[in-house]
Protein backbone atom coordinates (compact mmCIF):
# COMPACT_ATOMS: atom_id res chain seq x y z
CA UNK A 1 0.00 0.00 0.00
CA UNK A 2 1.01 3.60 0.02
CA UNK A 3 1.66 4.42 3.65
CA UNK A 4 5.46 4.12 3.63
CA UNK A 5 7.04 7.08 5.32
CA UNK A 6 3.89 8.23 7.14
CA UNK A 7 4.40 8.19 10.86
CA UNK A 8 1.76 8.67 13.50
CA UNK A 9 2.72 12.30 14.04
CA UNK A 10 2.26 13.24 10.38
CA UNK A 11 -0.18 15.94 9.43
CA UNK A 12 -3.34 14.79 7.70
CA UNK A 13 -5.62 17.08 5.74
CA UNK A 14 -9.25 15.93 5.62
CA UNK A 15 -11.26 17.39 2.73
CA UNK A 16 -14.88 17.66 3.79
CA UNK A 17 -16.37 18.66 7.16
CA UNK A 18 -19.50 16.55 6.92
CA UNK A 19 -20.30 13.71 9.27
CA UNK A 20 -17.72 11.35 7.69
CA UNK A 21 -14.93 13.93 7.51
CA UNK A 22 -15.70 14.92 11.10
CA UNK A 23 -15.53 11.31 12.26
CA UNK A 24 -12.22 10.78 10.42
CA UNK A 25 -10.79 13.97 11.90
CA UNK A 26 -11.79 12.94 15.41
CA UNK A 27 -10.41 9.41 15.10
CA UNK A 28 -7.15 10.67 13.57
CA UNK A 29 -6.68 13.49 16.08
CA UNK A 30 -7.41 11.31 19.07
CA UNK A 31 -4.85 8.82 17.77
CA UNK A 32 -2.28 11.62 17.86
CA UNK A 33 -2.23 12.90 14.29
CA UNK A 34 -2.18 16.63 13.64
CA UNK A 35 -5.28 17.17 11.51
CA UNK A 36 -6.54 20.03 9.36
CA UNK A 37 -10.13 19.77 8.08
CA UNK A 38 -11.09 21.82 5.03
CA UNK A 39 -14.56 22.47 3.64
CA UNK A 40 -15.50 24.80 0.83
CA UNK A 41 -18.77 25.62 2.63
CA UNK A 42 -19.83 25.50 6.26
CA UNK A 43 -19.35 22.33 8.31
CA UNK A 44 -22.12 19.74 7.85
CA UNK A 45 -23.83 21.82 5.20
CA UNK A 46 -24.03 19.26 2.39
CA UNK A 47 -25.29 15.70 2.48
CA UNK A 48 -25.15 15.56 6.30
CA UNK A 49 -27.69 18.38 6.55
CA UNK A 50 -30.11 16.96 4.00
CA UNK A 51 -30.99 13.49 5.22
CA UNK A 52 -32.87 12.08 8.19
CA UNK A 53 -30.00 11.08 10.48
CA UNK A 54 -30.54 7.38 10.09
CA UNK A 55 -28.60 4.74 12.01
CA UNK A 56 -29.94 1.57 10.42
CA UNK A 57 -29.27 -2.14 10.33
CA UNK A 58 -32.74 -3.00 9.05
CA UNK A 59 -32.06 -2.05 5.43
CA UNK A 60 -28.80 -3.98 5.13
CA UNK A 61 -28.39 -7.62 4.19
CA UNK A 62 -25.48 -9.76 5.45
CA UNK A 63 -22.17 -8.50 4.11
CA UNK A 64 -19.51 -5.85 4.60
CA UNK A 65 -21.90 -2.87 4.82
CA UNK A 66 -23.88 -4.56 7.58
CA UNK A 67 -20.64 -5.48 9.40
CA UNK A 68 -19.64 -1.82 9.33
CA UNK A 69 -23.14 -0.71 10.38
CA UNK A 70 -23.23 -3.06 13.37
CA UNK A 71 -19.85 -1.81 14.56
CA UNK A 72 -20.86 1.80 13.88
CA UNK A 73 -24.22 1.63 15.67
CA UNK A 74 -22.48 0.24 18.73
CA UNK A 75 -20.01 3.11 18.49
CA UNK A 76 -22.79 5.72 18.18
CA UNK A 77 -24.63 4.39 21.23
CA UNK A 78 -21.48 4.96 23.29
CA UNK A 79 -20.37 8.11 21.46
CA UNK A 80 -23.60 9.99 22.15
CA UNK A 81 -22.85 9.88 25.88
CA UNK A 82 -19.10 10.38 25.46
CA UNK A 83 -19.58 13.50 23.35
CA UNK A 84 -22.16 14.93 25.76
CA UNK A 85 -19.77 14.37 28.65
CA UNK A 86 -16.78 15.79 26.82
CA UNK A 87 -18.52 18.87 25.38
CA UNK A 88 -20.71 19.73 28.35
CA UNK A 89 -24.35 20.74 28.75
CA UNK A 90 -24.03 23.94 26.69
CA UNK A 91 -23.30 21.96 23.53
CA UNK A 92 -26.46 20.88 21.67
CA UNK A 93 -27.45 17.25 22.09
CA UNK A 94 -26.85 14.91 19.17
CA UNK A 95 -30.38 13.65 19.95
CA UNK A 96 -29.44 9.98 19.73
CA UNK A 97 -32.75 8.14 19.80
CA UNK A 98 -32.85 4.34 19.85
CA UNK A 99 -36.38 4.43 18.48
CA UNK A 100 -36.28 1.16 16.53
CA UNK A 101 -37.39 0.51 12.98
CA UNK A 102 -40.53 -1.14 11.68
CA UNK A 103 -40.78 -2.47 8.13
CA UNK A 104 -44.35 -3.16 7.03
CA UNK A 105 -46.02 -4.81 4.06
CA UNK A 106 -49.58 -5.18 2.86
CA UNK A 107 -49.24 -8.44 0.92
CA UNK A 108 -48.43 -12.07 1.73
CA UNK A 109 -45.74 -12.10 -0.94
CA UNK A 110 -44.19 -9.01 0.57
CA UNK A 111 -44.20 -10.59 4.00
CA UNK A 112 -42.52 -13.74 2.68
CA UNK A 113 -39.77 -11.58 1.19
CA UNK A 114 -39.26 -9.68 4.43
CA UNK A 115 -39.20 -12.91 6.42
CA UNK A 116 -36.44 -14.40 4.27
CA UNK A 117 -34.40 -11.19 4.41
CA UNK A 118 -34.74 -11.01 8.20
CA UNK A 119 -33.69 -14.66 8.61
CA UNK A 120 -30.40 -13.86 6.88
CA UNK A 121 -29.89 -10.80 9.05
CA UNK A 122 -30.57 -12.76 12.24
CA UNK A 123 -27.77 -15.20 11.37
CA UNK A 124 -25.27 -12.37 11.64
CA UNK A 125 -26.64 -10.94 14.86
CA UNK A 126 -29.28 -8.42 13.80
CA UNK A 127 -32.30 -8.30 16.09
CA UNK A 128 -35.26 -8.79 13.76
CA UNK A 129 -38.65 -9.62 15.28
CA UNK A 130 -41.51 -10.68 13.03
CA UNK A 131 -44.77 -8.97 13.94
CA UNK A 132 -48.34 -9.58 12.85
CA UNK A 133 -50.51 -6.77 11.57
CA UNK A 134 -52.07 -6.35 15.00
CA UNK A 135 -48.68 -6.35 16.71
CA UNK A 136 -47.46 -3.75 14.22
CA UNK A 137 -50.48 -1.59 15.08
CA UNK A 138 -49.66 -1.98 18.77
CA UNK A 139 -46.25 -0.48 18.02
CA UNK A 140 -47.79 2.15 15.72
CA UNK A 141 -51.50 2.68 16.46
CA UNK A 142 -52.05 4.90 13.42
CA UNK A 143 -50.82 2.32 10.88
CA UNK A 144 -53.14 1.57 7.98
CA UNK A 145 -55.60 -1.28 8.59
CA UNK A 146 -54.27 -3.02 5.47
CA UNK A 147 -50.85 -3.65 6.99
CA UNK A 148 -50.49 -7.41 7.09
CA UNK A 149 -47.34 -7.63 9.18
CA UNK A 150 -43.70 -6.82 9.15
CA UNK A 151 -40.38 -6.94 10.94
CA UNK A 152 -39.45 -4.90 13.99
CA UNK A 153 -35.78 -3.88 14.29
CA UNK A 154 -35.05 -2.60 17.81
CA UNK A 155 -31.43 -1.70 16.95
CA UNK A 156 -32.38 0.98 14.41
CA UNK A 157 -31.81 4.50 15.72
CA UNK A 158 -31.75 8.12 14.66
CA UNK A 159 -29.81 11.23 15.55
CA UNK A 160 -29.59 14.89 14.54
CA UNK A 161 -26.81 14.72 11.94
CA UNK A 162 -25.75 18.37 11.92
CA UNK A 163 -25.44 18.46 15.70
CA UNK A 164 -23.61 15.12 15.54
CA UNK A 165 -21.12 16.35 12.92
CA UNK A 166 -20.51 19.55 14.88
CA UNK A 167 -20.01 17.52 18.05
CA UNK A 168 -17.47 15.25 16.34
CA UNK A 169 -15.64 18.32 15.00
CA UNK A 170 -15.66 19.99 18.41
CA UNK A 171 -14.24 16.82 19.93
CA UNK A 172 -11.60 16.67 17.18
CA UNK A 173 -10.66 20.29 17.90
CA UNK A 174 -10.18 19.45 21.54
CA UNK A 175 -7.73 16.81 20.37
CA UNK A 176 -5.84 19.46 18.39
CA UNK A 177 -7.54 19.39 15.00
CA UNK A 178 -7.99 22.63 13.08
CA UNK A 179 -11.21 23.12 11.08
CA UNK A 180 -11.13 25.64 8.24
CA UNK A 181 -14.38 26.35 6.39
CA UNK A 182 -14.85 28.40 3.24
CA UNK A 183 -11.66 26.86 1.85
CA UNK A 184 -11.93 25.00 -1.44
CA UNK A 185 -9.35 22.51 -2.70
CA UNK A 186 -8.06 23.48 -6.13
CA UNK A 187 -5.23 21.02 -6.81
CA UNK A 188 -2.54 18.70 -5.50
CA UNK A 189 0.81 19.41 -3.91
CA UNK A 190 3.14 16.74 -5.26
CA UNK A 191 6.40 15.67 -3.70
CA UNK A 192 9.17 13.27 -4.57
CA UNK A 193 8.13 10.31 -6.76
CA UNK A 194 4.78 11.95 -7.40
CA UNK A 195 3.56 11.46 -3.87
CA UNK A 196 0.65 13.65 -2.76
CA UNK A 197 1.96 15.92 0.02
CA UNK A 198 -0.94 18.28 0.49
CA UNK A 199 -3.43 20.40 -1.40
CA UNK A 200 -3.57 23.83 -2.94
CA UNK A 201 -6.69 25.75 -1.98
CA UNK A 202 -8.46 29.04 -2.59
CA UNK A 203 -6.81 30.18 0.66
CA UNK A 204 -3.26 28.97 0.11
CA UNK A 205 -1.42 25.68 0.21
CA UNK A 206 -1.89 23.12 2.97
CA UNK A 207 0.99 20.67 3.28
CA UNK A 208 0.26 17.30 4.82
CA UNK A 209 1.65 13.81 4.95
CA UNK A 210 -1.67 12.42 3.74
CA UNK A 211 -4.88 13.73 2.20
CA UNK A 212 -8.23 12.16 3.07
CA UNK A 213 -11.08 12.95 0.68
CA UNK A 214 -14.36 12.79 2.60
CA UNK A 215 -16.36 15.07 0.34
CA UNK A 216 -19.43 12.85 -0.03
CA UNK A 217 -21.01 13.09 -3.51
CA UNK A 218 -18.44 15.73 -4.49
CA UNK A 219 -15.55 13.31 -3.81
CA UNK A 220 -15.11 12.42 -7.49
CA UNK A 221 -14.56 16.09 -8.34
CA UNK A 222 -12.07 16.55 -5.50
CA UNK A 223 -10.27 13.38 -6.59
CA UNK A 224 -10.16 14.69 -10.14
CA UNK A 225 -8.64 17.97 -9.00
CA UNK A 226 -5.97 15.97 -7.17
CA UNK A 227 -5.23 13.90 -10.28
CA UNK A 228 -7.05 10.76 -9.16
CA UNK A 229 -10.21 8.88 -10.10
CA UNK A 230 -13.15 7.63 -8.07
CA UNK A 231 -16.56 6.40 -9.31
CA UNK A 232 -18.75 8.30 -6.83
CA UNK A 233 -21.87 9.94 -8.25
CA UNK A 234 -24.65 12.03 -6.71
CA UNK A 235 -27.94 10.26 -6.08
CA UNK A 236 -30.65 12.72 -5.24
CA UNK A 237 -33.20 12.36 -2.47
CA UNK A 238 -36.11 14.51 -1.32
CA UNK A 239 -37.74 14.76 2.12
CA UNK A 240 -41.17 16.21 2.90
CA UNK A 241 -41.60 17.92 6.29
CA UNK A 242 -45.00 18.28 7.97
CA UNK A 243 -46.00 20.98 10.41
CA UNK A 244 -45.33 20.15 14.09
CA UNK A 245 -47.84 17.87 15.76
CA UNK A 246 -48.19 15.70 18.84
CA UNK A 247 -46.29 12.46 18.49
CA UNK A 248 -48.24 9.96 16.44
CA UNK A 249 -45.34 8.04 14.87
CA UNK A 250 -42.97 6.37 17.27
CA UNK A 251 -40.52 4.35 15.17
CA UNK A 252 -38.86 4.69 11.85
CA UNK A 253 -41.52 3.08 9.68
CA UNK A 254 -41.00 2.10 6.10
CA UNK A 255 -42.66 -0.03 3.49
CA UNK A 256 -41.09 -3.26 2.23
CA UNK A 257 -40.03 -1.70 -1.08
CA UNK A 258 -37.35 0.43 0.54
CA UNK A 259 -34.57 -2.15 0.53
CA UNK A 260 -35.02 -2.87 -3.18
CA UNK A 261 -34.77 0.85 -3.92
CA UNK A 262 -31.51 1.24 -1.98
CA UNK A 263 -29.93 -1.70 -3.78
CA UNK A 264 -30.99 -0.70 -7.27
CA UNK A 265 -28.66 0.82 -9.80
CA UNK A 266 -31.20 2.57 -12.04
CA UNK A 267 -31.03 6.28 -12.67
CA UNK A 268 -34.81 6.61 -12.91
CA UNK A 269 -36.93 7.93 -10.07
CA UNK A 270 -37.67 5.40 -7.34
CA UNK A 271 -39.74 6.06 -4.25
CA UNK A 272 -40.76 4.17 -1.15
CA UNK A 273 -42.46 5.25 2.05
CA UNK A 274 -40.09 6.07 4.91
CA UNK A 275 -41.85 7.91 7.71
CA UNK A 276 -40.70 9.07 11.12
CA UNK A 277 -41.17 11.92 13.55
CA UNK A 278 -38.57 14.23 15.03
CA UNK A 279 -38.19 15.68 18.50
CA UNK A 280 -39.28 19.03 17.14
CA UNK A 281 -42.70 17.53 16.39
CA UNK A 282 -42.46 17.40 12.60
CA UNK A 283 -42.88 14.22 10.58
CA UNK A 284 -40.27 13.50 7.90
CA UNK A 285 -41.54 11.71 4.81
CA UNK A 286 -39.17 10.05 2.33
CA UNK A 287 -37.73 8.56 0.38
CA UNK A 288 -36.68 8.94 -3.20
CA UNK A 289 -33.69 8.07 -5.31
CA UNK A 290 -32.81 9.44 -8.71
CA UNK A 291 -29.61 10.14 -10.58
CA UNK A 292 -29.90 13.57 -12.14
CA UNK A 293 -26.41 14.92 -11.41
CA UNK A 294 -26.39 17.88 -9.04
CA UNK A 295 -29.68 19.24 -10.40
CA UNK A 296 -31.47 21.03 -7.54
CA UNK A 297 -34.70 21.74 -9.42
CA UNK A 298 -37.57 20.14 -7.58
CA UNK A 299 -40.28 18.31 -9.52
CA UNK A 300 -43.81 17.72 -8.27
CA UNK A 301 -43.86 14.06 -9.36
CA UNK A 302 -41.43 12.91 -6.66
CA UNK A 303 -43.40 14.75 -3.94
CA UNK A 304 -46.67 13.26 -5.15
CA UNK A 305 -45.30 9.72 -5.19
CA UNK A 306 -43.78 10.00 -1.71
CA UNK A 307 -46.88 11.56 -0.21
CA UNK A 308 -49.11 8.87 -1.76
CA UNK A 309 -46.92 6.07 -0.43
CA UNK A 310 -46.71 7.63 3.03
CA UNK A 311 -50.50 8.02 3.23
CA UNK A 312 -50.85 4.33 2.30
CA UNK A 313 -48.87 3.47 5.46
CA UNK A 314 -50.29 6.21 7.75
CA UNK A 315 -53.72 7.34 6.46
CA UNK A 316 -53.93 10.25 8.94
CA UNK A 317 -51.12 11.97 7.04
CA UNK A 318 -53.64 12.78 4.29
CA UNK A 319 -55.03 15.48 6.60
CA UNK A 320 -51.62 16.81 7.61
CA UNK A 321 -50.05 19.97 6.24
CA UNK A 322 -46.62 19.88 4.67
CA UNK A 323 -44.60 22.97 5.49
CA UNK A 324 -41.55 22.37 3.33
CA UNK A 325 -39.42 19.92 1.45
CA UNK A 326 -35.68 19.67 1.06
CA UNK A 327 -33.42 17.73 -1.23
CA UNK A 328 -29.88 16.49 -1.03
CA UNK A 329 -27.33 14.32 -2.77
CA UNK A 330 -26.08 10.97 -1.55
CA UNK A 331 -22.64 9.69 -2.55
CA UNK A 332 -23.55 6.70 -4.71
CA UNK A 333 -21.01 4.00 -5.58
CA UNK A 334 -21.89 1.39 -8.24
CA UNK A 335 -21.12 -1.62 -6.00
CA UNK A 336 -23.06 -0.15 -3.03
CA UNK A 337 -20.14 -0.20 -0.59
CA UNK A 338 -18.34 2.72 1.04
CA UNK A 339 -14.84 3.58 -0.17
CA UNK A 340 -12.45 3.67 2.78
CA UNK A 341 -8.67 3.44 2.47
CA UNK A 342 -5.72 4.32 0.30
CA UNK A 343 -6.10 5.23 -3.35
CA UNK A 344 -4.41 2.48 -5.39
CA UNK A 345 -2.76 4.91 -7.82
CA UNK A 346 -1.73 8.11 -6.01
CA UNK A 347 0.42 7.61 -2.91
CA UNK A 348 -0.65 9.87 -0.05
CA UNK A 349 -4.31 9.99 -1.13
CA UNK A 350 -6.99 8.33 0.98
CA UNK A 351 -10.75 8.11 0.67
CA UNK A 352 -13.61 7.98 3.19
CA UNK A 353 -16.73 8.38 1.12
CA UNK A 354 -19.36 6.58 -0.96
CA UNK A 355 -21.74 5.72 1.91
CA UNK A 356 -24.79 6.64 -0.17
CA UNK A 357 -27.65 7.17 2.30
CA UNK A 358 -25.91 5.54 5.26
CA UNK A 359 -23.06 7.96 6.01
CA UNK A 360 -24.44 9.21 9.30
CA UNK A 361 -24.82 5.69 10.62
CA UNK A 362 -21.49 4.47 9.25
CA UNK A 363 -19.42 7.53 10.22
CA UNK A 364 -17.84 6.44 13.52
CA UNK A 365 -16.68 3.05 12.23
CA UNK A 366 -15.49 4.70 9.02
CA UNK A 367 -13.43 7.23 10.97
CA UNK A 368 -11.89 4.50 13.11
CA UNK A 369 -11.18 2.30 10.09
CA UNK A 370 -9.61 5.13 8.10
CA UNK A 371 -7.47 6.22 11.04
CA UNK A 372 -6.37 2.65 11.73
CA UNK A 373 -5.37 2.10 8.10
CA UNK A 374 -3.63 5.44 7.74
CA UNK A 375 -1.79 5.28 11.06
CA UNK A 376 -0.99 1.57 10.93
CA UNK A 377 -3.19 0.61 13.89
CA UNK A 378 -5.27 -2.54 14.07
CA UNK A 379 -8.77 -2.06 12.62
CA UNK A 380 -11.99 -3.19 14.32
CA UNK A 381 -13.38 -4.62 11.09
CA UNK A 382 -11.71 -6.17 8.04
CA UNK A 383 -10.81 -3.17 5.84
CA UNK A 384 -10.44 -5.07 2.55
CA UNK A 385 -14.09 -4.96 1.34
CA UNK A 386 -14.02 -1.13 1.43
CA UNK A 387 -10.62 -0.71 -0.23
CA UNK A 388 -10.62 1.85 -3.06
CA UNK A 389 -8.53 -0.59 -5.11
CA UNK A 390 -11.20 -3.34 -5.15
CA UNK A 391 -11.85 -4.80 -8.57
CA UNK A 392 -15.58 -3.96 -8.59
CA UNK A 393 -14.52 -0.31 -8.72
CA UNK A 394 -11.25 -0.52 -10.63
CA UNK A 395 -12.92 -2.45 -13.46
CA UNK A 396 -14.95 0.72 -14.08
CA UNK A 397 -11.86 2.90 -14.43
CA UNK A 398 -11.85 4.61 -17.81
CA UNK A 399 -9.05 3.93 -20.28
CA UNK A 400 -5.97 6.11 -19.72
CA UNK A 401 -6.19 9.54 -21.27
CA UNK A 402 -3.53 9.68 -24.03
CA UNK A 403 -2.95 13.38 -23.33
CA UNK A 404 -0.54 14.25 -20.49
CA UNK A 405 -2.34 14.47 -17.16
CA UNK A 406 -2.74 18.06 -16.06
CA UNK A 407 -1.15 19.09 -12.80
CA UNK A 408 -0.77 15.52 -11.67
CA UNK A 409 1.96 12.97 -11.57
CA UNK A 410 1.63 10.59 -14.50
CA UNK A 411 1.30 7.61 -12.18
CA UNK A 412 -1.92 9.05 -10.84
CA UNK A 413 -3.85 7.49 -13.70
CA UNK A 414 -3.29 3.85 -14.50
Amino acid sequence: MSDEGVDVAADVVVVGAGIVGAACARSLARAGARVVVLDRDAAASGTSAHGEGNLLVSDKGPGPELDLAQESLRRWAALAGELAEELGPRFPSVEHDAKGGLVVVASADGLAGLREFAAGQREVGVEAVEVSGDEARELEPDLAPGVLGGIYYPQDAQLQPVAAAEALLASARRAGAVVRTGVEVTGPLLGAHGRLVGVSTTRGDVAAGAVVVAAGPWSAQVADRLGAWLPVRPRRGVVLVTTPMRQRIHHKVYDGDYFAATQSAGAELQTSAVVESTRGGTVLIGSSREQVGFDERLGAEVLTQMARRAVAVFPFLARTNVMRSYLGFRPYVPDHLPVIGADPALPGLWFATGHEGAGVGLAPATGDLLAAALLGLSPAVDPDPYAPGRTTLQDLRPAPDPRPAQGAHEGART
Binding site: P244, R246, Q247, N321, M323
Partner: protein, 102 residues
Amino acid sequence: MTSYRVPAGSDPIEPGADRPLTIRVDGEPVTGTAGQTIAGVLLGAGQRQWRTTRDGAPRGVFCGIGVCFDCVVEVNGLRDVRACLRRAQDGDVVATTPEAGR
Protein backbone atom coordinates in the same frame (compact mmCIF):
# COMPACT_ATOMS: atom_id res chain seq x y z
CA MET B 1 -37.41 39.55 29.34
CA THR B 2 -41.01 40.68 29.00
CA SER B 3 -43.06 41.64 25.98
CA TYR B 4 -45.66 44.38 26.01
CA ARG B 5 -47.82 46.42 23.69
CA VAL B 6 -46.77 49.87 22.52
CA PRO B 7 -49.83 52.19 22.44
CA ALA B 8 -50.88 52.69 18.83
CA GLY B 9 -50.57 56.48 19.14
CA SER B 10 -46.92 56.26 20.14
CA ASP B 11 -45.90 53.60 17.63
CA PRO B 12 -42.60 55.05 16.36
CA ILE B 13 -42.99 53.49 12.91
CA GLU B 14 -46.60 54.27 12.05
CA PRO B 15 -48.50 56.15 14.77
CA GLY B 16 -52.28 55.93 14.47
CA ALA B 17 -55.57 55.60 16.23
CA ASP B 18 -55.99 52.65 18.58
CA ARG B 19 -58.78 50.44 17.24
CA PRO B 20 -59.07 47.76 19.94
CA LEU B 21 -60.02 44.21 19.12
CA THR B 22 -60.49 41.09 21.19
CA ILE B 23 -59.62 37.53 20.23
CA ARG B 24 -60.21 34.38 22.27
CA VAL B 25 -57.12 32.31 22.96
CA ASP B 26 -57.91 28.88 24.42
CA GLY B 27 -61.19 30.37 25.60
CA GLU B 28 -59.68 33.43 27.30
CA PRO B 29 -60.20 36.95 25.86
CA VAL B 30 -57.01 38.72 24.80
CA THR B 31 -57.12 42.33 23.61
CA GLY B 32 -54.98 43.88 20.92
CA THR B 33 -55.23 46.56 18.31
CA ALA B 34 -56.23 46.41 14.66
CA GLY B 35 -53.23 45.78 12.43
CA GLN B 36 -51.47 43.39 14.77
CA THR B 37 -50.86 39.78 13.83
CA ILE B 38 -52.07 37.09 16.19
CA ALA B 39 -48.47 36.73 17.34
CA GLY B 40 -48.43 40.49 17.87
CA VAL B 41 -51.56 40.35 20.04
CA LEU B 42 -50.10 37.48 22.08
CA LEU B 43 -46.73 39.20 22.52
CA GLY B 44 -48.52 42.47 23.35
CA ALA B 45 -50.37 40.64 26.11
CA GLY B 46 -47.05 39.50 27.57
CA GLN B 47 -47.25 35.97 26.22
CA ARG B 48 -44.00 34.78 24.62
CA GLN B 49 -44.65 31.07 24.45
CA TRP B 50 -47.78 29.20 23.33
CA ARG B 51 -46.53 25.85 22.17
CA THR B 52 -43.99 23.23 23.26
CA THR B 53 -41.98 20.64 21.43
CA ARG B 54 -42.48 17.01 22.27
CA ASP B 55 -39.69 17.33 24.85
CA GLY B 56 -41.45 20.28 26.48
CA ALA B 57 -39.20 23.02 25.09
CA PRO B 58 -41.08 26.33 24.74
CA ARG B 59 -41.98 27.68 21.29
CA GLY B 60 -43.47 30.98 20.15
CA VAL B 61 -42.21 33.51 17.63
CA PHE B 62 -38.78 32.54 16.37
CA CYS B 63 -38.31 33.93 12.87
CA GLY B 64 -41.38 36.16 12.79
CA ILE B 65 -41.51 36.07 8.99
CA GLY B 66 -43.35 32.83 8.22
CA VAL B 67 -40.40 30.56 7.61
CA CYS B 68 -39.88 28.50 10.75
CA PHE B 69 -43.47 27.45 11.60
CA ASP B 70 -42.59 27.55 15.31
CA CYS B 71 -45.54 29.84 16.09
CA VAL B 72 -48.33 27.76 14.50
CA VAL B 73 -51.79 27.89 16.11
CA GLU B 74 -55.32 26.91 15.13
CA VAL B 75 -57.46 29.88 14.05
CA ASN B 76 -61.23 29.55 13.65
CA GLY B 77 -60.85 25.79 13.23
CA LEU B 78 -58.06 25.96 10.65
CA ARG B 79 -54.88 24.16 11.71
CA ASP B 80 -51.26 25.16 11.22
CA VAL B 81 -51.81 28.90 10.88
CA ARG B 82 -48.63 30.89 11.36
CA ALA B 83 -49.46 33.39 14.10
CA CYS B 84 -46.75 35.74 12.84
CA LEU B 85 -48.42 36.11 9.44
CA ARG B 86 -52.16 36.06 10.25
CA ARG B 87 -53.61 39.53 10.85
CA ALA B 88 -55.85 39.35 13.95
CA GLN B 89 -59.56 39.96 13.38
CA ASP B 90 -61.95 40.91 16.16
CA GLY B 91 -63.56 37.72 17.45
CA ASP B 92 -60.94 35.28 16.15
CA VAL B 93 -60.99 31.97 18.01
CA VAL B 94 -57.43 30.77 18.56
CA ALA B 95 -56.41 27.38 19.96
CA THR B 96 -52.75 26.99 20.86
CA THR B 97 -52.86 23.18 21.10
CA PRO B 98 -54.93 22.12 18.12
CA GLU B 99 -53.94 18.47 18.55
CA ALA B 100 -55.45 18.23 22.02
CA GLY B 101 -58.57 16.11 21.99
CA ARG B 102 -58.08 14.80 18.47
